[in-house]
């Protein structure tokens, strides 16, 4: 019996069409739009002016506070303007628009492909480099990595867990990265282990990526303390709390961070970025993006510069199919539906999923038949049917009592509901409102 997390879970169709597709480097776009808010936390402060000349890897916006990150220019060229553009949220957000001229990199970036195994940096240096490189969680949550690596005083990190699960259907970017850059990921893991002062790391990989499990197991033999943990295919295993439960059998208490059980979780993509930042001085300005979908001609994994409009990625994957109904930034379970194809790639873009119209349409919602399937699949052990009702009726105190804030918004409830009720829609609304109420209360 393979390990997995203890409560709930679903198994959506995997549809990993782009699995095994080599990571292609996408052509540098003529113009990039770099959003200043690409991460959780305060938007970065713009550090360039209209008309400035920038190089690849140069800081163009600086972190505003601890929970924020630097943003680096993904291209070399001239800053055209600082304007607002529509981002994945559908709202206009501030962005730096740069016109590409050539491809001149900052001098200290090591552009060679050679593997640098020896870790010379001290733990402080590692964290400083990660902070400067603007690395965020690349799984999609975009939480600044240096914040996660700063273990609060009084807590001790015992194990580093790497998320190679990629439990979202369709997406394959982490899988492909493990296949092509396995060695780099392992060195990156070693770097993080040094920074966190732990001697144990577990890489959790779901069993539908047998080749990656084999390859990483083989490679990890020469790295002390790193082990590979094959996991049963079950969504949402990539959720931080679920992954910890699956790998080390400990449950993070409600409202607490993983460090409470002595674990720090990082995505494999993030670890690769850490390797590049620490060993090659390369800040985060490009990432692997999966472009996929049932009717996409050429499902692919691209290495794209941040700020590239997604229309360019779609074109490179064979163009937008005729029957397109929905374009999703991320996976089908937690991704955001996009309003246009002009939206730029951000640090959190793990994939672009193009769905045909007939799959994209939701079925009409019917009465709740109290089948209790939402309760059975909830990985947090909540009662989604109840949370939806109390959110719909605005009974916020009851929603808080029923632990609405524990919801990880994985969507298993809406996915399962035989009556096609928009459970998560209302729960998310309730979560937002209750969160606001709690913040107001603590601020008082």
């Amino acid at each position: 019996m393979l390990k997995t997390f203890s409560l709930g879970g679903v198994h959506p169709e995997e549809n990993k069409f782009s699995a095994g597709q080599k990571i292609e480097t996408l052509e540098i776009p003529e113009q990039v739009s770099v959003l200043v808010a690409q991460h959780i936390g305060g938007p970065a402060e713009v550090a360039v002016d209209k008309g400035d000349q920038v190089k690849v890897g140069q800081i163009i916006a600086t972190a505003a506070g601890f929970v924020s990150t630097n943003i680096h220019s993904p291209v070399s060229g001239t800053v055209l303007k600082i304007d607002t553009i529509i981002d994945a949220s559908g709202y206009r957000k501030k962005a730096i628009i740069i016109k590409t001229e050539g491809d001149e990199w900052e001098a200290n970036i090591d552009r060679s492909e050679t593997l640098v195994k020896e870790i010379t940096a001290t733990p402080q240096e590692i964290i400083r480099k990660i902070t400067n490189a603007g690395i965020v969680g690349l799984g999609g949550a975009t939480f600044p990595s240096h914040v996660k690596l700063s273990v609060p005083p009084g807590k001790k990190c015992e194990v580093l867990i790497l998320n190679g699960v990629e439990c979202e259907p369709y997406l394959t970017s982490d899988h492909q990265l493990m296949m092509e850059k396995g060695e780099e990921i392992l060195v990156g893991t070693k770097i993080l282990m040094k920074a966190l002062n732990v001697d144990k790391a577990i890489i959790g990989i779901e069993n539908n990526k047998k080749d990656a499990i084999e390859k990483m197991s083989e490679l990890s033999k020469s790295y002390d303390g790193i082990s590979i943990q094959p996991l049963k295919v079950q969504y949402p295993q990539g959720g931080e709390k679920q992954l910890i439960d699956a790998c080390i059998g400990k449950q993070v208490p409600s409202g607490k961070l993983p460090i409470e059980v002595g674990a720090v979780v990082q995505n494999t993509g993030t670890v690769f970025a850490v390797y590049e930042a620490v060993q090659k001085n390369k800040p985060l300005f490009e990432r692997v993006v999966t472009v996929t979908g049932k009717s996409v001609k050429k499902p692919s994994n691209f290495k794209a510069r941040i700020g590239t409009p997604i229309s360019q990625l779609i074109d490179a994957a064979g163009g937008l199919p005729e029957d397109t109904g929905k374009i999703i930034g991320g996976g089908p379970m937690m991704g955001k539906a996009l309003t246009t194809t002009d939206i730029p790639v951000t640090k959190g873009s793990s994939g672009i999923l193009i769905m045909p119209e007939e799959i994209a349409k939701r079925k009409p919602s019917q009465n709740c038949i109290r089948c209790a399937k939402c309760v059975s699949v909830c990985p947090m052990g909540l009662s989604p049917y109840l949370l939806m009702t109390v959110s719909e009726k605005s009974v916020w105190d009851r929603a808080e009592e029923e632990k609405i804030m524990d919801c990880i918004e994985c969507g298993s409830c809406s996915f399962t509901c035989p009556s096609s009720r928009p459970l998560l829609d209302y729960i998310r609304l309730g979560k937002g409102t209750v969160g606001q109420i709690i913040r107001n209360r603590t601020n008082k």
């Binding site: 607002t84 559908g90 349409k361 928009p422 609304l429």
Partner: protein, 285 residues
């Protein structure tokens, strides 16, 4: 016979015993309440809409009885009439608040605001608003799912299918503010009713720059400031790319309306435009 009498006696004695217990319990747990609260509640409209800021009419009546100065308290449903009745019961003074009405600060009809995408989530404005900007290019305008209409208890709103916007029935609106609270885009305003129920206001809330706003909606305020310049009383300011008409200083001269290039300034209940001379004469009278 015997059975019947036993039954009657048993039941009667049970009833008497229960009555005695109830009487003593009621005596013991009696709570003193100011009798004026009931009197005041009597004159309140009993709509329990919460427009006064209190949970229900009784709570408002309690507040009225308790407060020494009731000039800050107002029942928007009953208006000046109700308030003066309540004040006379309590022997307190009340300032007549200017009557108000809800207005919609969006004129982005289906025609002027083309749809760019199709929303397929739960039928709720708040959920759509928390997800993204809306089906059109304007992320400030009405989402059109009628959460305000659902919130209205006075049957004063309905959704116009043609325009996709809610319509406020002035004659029913009591300006309780339930729609204002319900709207996630905050585009409903409680506005002074104005003389002869006449109003003039900017029906747009788009804070984008002129060009962007215009592209999204042909009846958007593009912050050109023409109305501001036209206003002889300085009642119009342009703030965050939207013009605003101050109802306190506005003199209802309607000079701003023809200036607006997008027709974002709306007039309500004015007589059809007369020649200028007559208008001046009207004023003089």
């Amino acid at each position: 016979m015997n059975v019947i009498s036993i039954t009657i006696i048993t039941l009667a004695s049970l009833g008497v015993a229960a009555a005695i217990i109830l009487y003593f319990v009621a005596q013991k747990f009696k709570v003193f309440e100011d009798p004026r609260i009931d009197e005041v509640e009597e004159v309140l409209p009993a709509a329990n809409c919460g427009g006064c800021g209190f949970p229900g009419c009784r709570a408002f009546a309690e507040a009225l009885v308790k407060a020494d100065d009731i000039s800050d308290l107002n029942c928007p449903v009953g208006g000046a009439d109700t308030m003066s009745k309540a004040a006379s019961i309590l022997g307190k003074k009340v300032q007549a608040a200017a009557p108000t009405v809800a207005v919609l600060k969006c004129n982005g009809t289906c025609e002027s605001r083309p749809r760019l995408n199709h929303y397929d989530g739960a039928e709720s404005c708040s959920i759509a608003a928390s997800l993204y900007g809306g089906e059109t290019g304007c992320s400030y305008g009405c989402l059109g799912m009628g959460e305000c209409v659902d919130a209205c208890q006075f049957n004063a709103m309905y959704m116009d299918k043609e325009t996709g916007l809610p319509v406020i029935k002035e004659e029913n609106c009591v300006s309780c503010g339930a729609c204002v609270a319900a709207c996630p885009k905050k585009i409903i305003e409680i506005r002074k009713q104005g003389p002869k129920n006449r109003r003039i206001y900017v029906a747009c809330a788009n804070k984008d720059k002129g060009g962007v706003a215009k592209k999204a909606c042909s009846s958007a305020c593009i912050a050109c400031s023409k109305c501001m310049k036209a206003c002889p009383f300085g009642a119009i300011i342009v703030h965050q790319n939207v013009a605003q008409i101050n109802p306190e200083t506005c003199r209802y001269c309607r000079k701003c309306t023809p200036e607006c290039p997008t027709g974002a300034i709306l007039e309500a209940n004015f007589p059809p435009k007369k020649e200028k001379k007559e208008l001046v004469k009207d004023k003089a009278e």
